[in-house]
Amino acid sequence: MSLLEIEGLEVTFGQGEGRVAAVRGASFSVARGETHCIVGESGCGKSVTSLAIMGLLARGATRQAKRMEFDGRDISRLSEREMSRLRGHRIAMIFQEPMTSLNPAYTIGSQMAEVRTRHLGGTKQAALDRAAELLGRVGITAPGMRLGQFPHQLSGGLRQRVMIAMALMNDPELLIADEPTTALDVTIQAQILRLLAQLQADLGLALLLITHDLGVVARVAHQVSVMYAGEVVENAATADLFAAPRHPYTRGLLECLPIPGKVAPGAPLGSIPGMVPKLTPGFTGCGFRSRCSLARAECAAPVALRGAPHLYRCVVDA
């Protein structure tokens, strides 16, 4: 049984005429100890999906799902109090901007210790010891000294490591990471991703990684969900997705990439004409149809995922 099961997740912002459907149909599952990537471009709803799972949506957002289960337990109807017991304990989250994710007014140590004492009690000293241990585990040298430092004294890569260590304070089973390396240099990104893979191997951590970078997906994911215009349009094992993409959007996306060795230098890159549609109230059907060369009349009606285990949301046979 998977650790996280999401089926038919929908998130809408606003009321009445100004309603916008940020997520129109997200379905995927994350198994224990596995890395699942949600990949998509801006506005596809991937970040909103992660916030919806954590119950961190802004006021004025409505969320509904056919199924939202964590470790077999329904989390869609939990009270805020119960949800906050889960957050930071069994499910942890790290965000994109290491600059703003840490409170600049408190030391690293006090912020990390608070995460522990809040959920699991115990003394502050015990929490600080654990924090030092985790800082060492994420590859930070002189962890004792770092505990007393403030966020601004650390570089971006170090801050992101601190975020990861902080997320691990309470031995979570699932770590949700929203674009954790996008704001970092390429060489640092490689180090952070290696670290996450190592932690997964050592701790059996499940990782839900949200990104727009297909390179990251290819290298770290076991399973991939591709999102477009609020829907998961393809869901497959990584190797299958890249070898034989089934959804026209995924295919188009892969053709846009200047892959050294595969695309001749100077040759024109593939491109997807058109723009993402505005998801106004009443928009139904495939969000990609206005840009798809295979579009037909049936695409205007809601399309279901099919073709298990390599799922895709398209009326055209792949």
Binding site: E41, I140, G157, V217, L253, C256, L257, P258, I259, G270
Partner: protein, 313 residues
């Protein structure tokens, strides 16, 4: 040998950063002696990570700030001797952020016309050149009366390109022009830039941290680290056989979308490059996986386009 389109000689930029009221000032050597030469019609890619000075270098080349030392020559003319209007006819920029590179309070048509107006071009000629430019970048003429907020990121970048090329400059300097765009839009813009380069015989400087993109479009690539070019080579040669350890690490950390290869161990350690504290000898030696004793004492000579002691041993 014909005059190169652009020649940069020993360019330097030093800053003094005060640290509050009582701290000692830090001396930052953002650009520490850069020499480059680009023939007409070629594309030079400049790659590097944060702290390498590539953005400062871009601003120096454009004349947005004065250099501490060195010179930039376009077709033999020293840019610092020219007034801004003459410089504008030679070199123009395309910036990274499509949202802050267009004045939100002006219409698209006015934005693209602005360089012509600054040069004193007559009204009717301005209008026709703007229309021609918009067509060349694939923007419908009726968009000229819209405001930037009504356009998407990709469209705004097209407008930025139109504005840069409306004066038909010799050099186009692109500072991370596609980094803020989605992949599907990025490819459109890269294709557009390639077409325009060919049709206008532009010489291009393309600054980016995205090595896959640079390999695709550049003829020559220069790798920047802490204010210097540590390696420069024709693109295919650099990517096939990188000579400098930093270039090798950089290339190793590129995650191509090829499954099953995992994430490589780049082996660079945690010490981050700090332009206010440049290490003695070879500036890369504290992070270099193959550094020898000499690297911390002597600055490395340039051998075959790369500055590394190990190449001359």
């Amino acid at each position: 040998m014909s005059t190169p389109a652009i020649e940069i000689r020993d360019l330097e930029k030093r800053f003094i950063v005060k640290q509050g009221l009582f701290g000692t000032p830090r001396h930052v050597r953002a650009v520490d002696g850069v020499t480059l030469s680009i023939p007409t019609g070629a594309t030079l890619g400049i790659v590097g990570e944060s702290g390498c000075g590539k953005s400062t270098l871009a601003r120096l080349i454009l004349g947005l700030m004065p250099a501490s030392a060195g010179s930039v020559l376009v077709e033999g003319q020293d840019l610092s001797r020219l007034d801004r209007r003459a410089r504008a006819r030679l070199i123009q920029p395309v910036f990274q952020d499509p949202f802050s590179s267009l004045n939100p309070r002006r219409r698209i048509g006015d934005i693209v016309a602005m360089p012509l107006v600054a040069q004193g071009v007559a009204g009717h000629e301005t209008r026709s050149r703007v229309a021609e430019m918009l067509a060349q970048v694939g923007i419908a003429p009726e968009m000229a009366s819209r405001y930037p907020a009504q356009l998407s990121g990709g469209q705004r970048q097209r407008i930025a390109i139109a504005r840069a090329l409306v004066l038909r400059p010799r050099i186009l300097l692109c500072d991370e022009p596609t980094s803020a765009l989605d992949v599907s839009v990025q490819s459109q813009i890269l294709n557009l830039l390639a077409d325009l380069r060919r049709s206008l015989n532009l010489t291009t400087i393309f600054i980016s941290h995205n090595l896959a993109v640079v390999e695709h479009i550049a003829d020559t690539v220069a790798v920047m680290y802490l204010g210097r070019i540590v390696e420069e080579a024709p693109a295919q040669a650099l990517f096939a056989k990188p000579r400098h350890p930093y270039t090798r690490a950089l290339l190793a950390s590129v995650l191509t979308p090829e499954p099953g290869l995992g994430v490589p161990d780049v082996g660079l350690g945690d010490v981050l490059p700090d332009p206010s504290n440049i290490p003695p000898g070879c500036r890369f030696h504290p992070r270099c996986p193959v550094a020898i004793a000499r690297c911390s004492r002597e600055t490395p000579p340039r051998v075959d386009g790369a500055e590394c002691h190990l190449l001359s041993a």
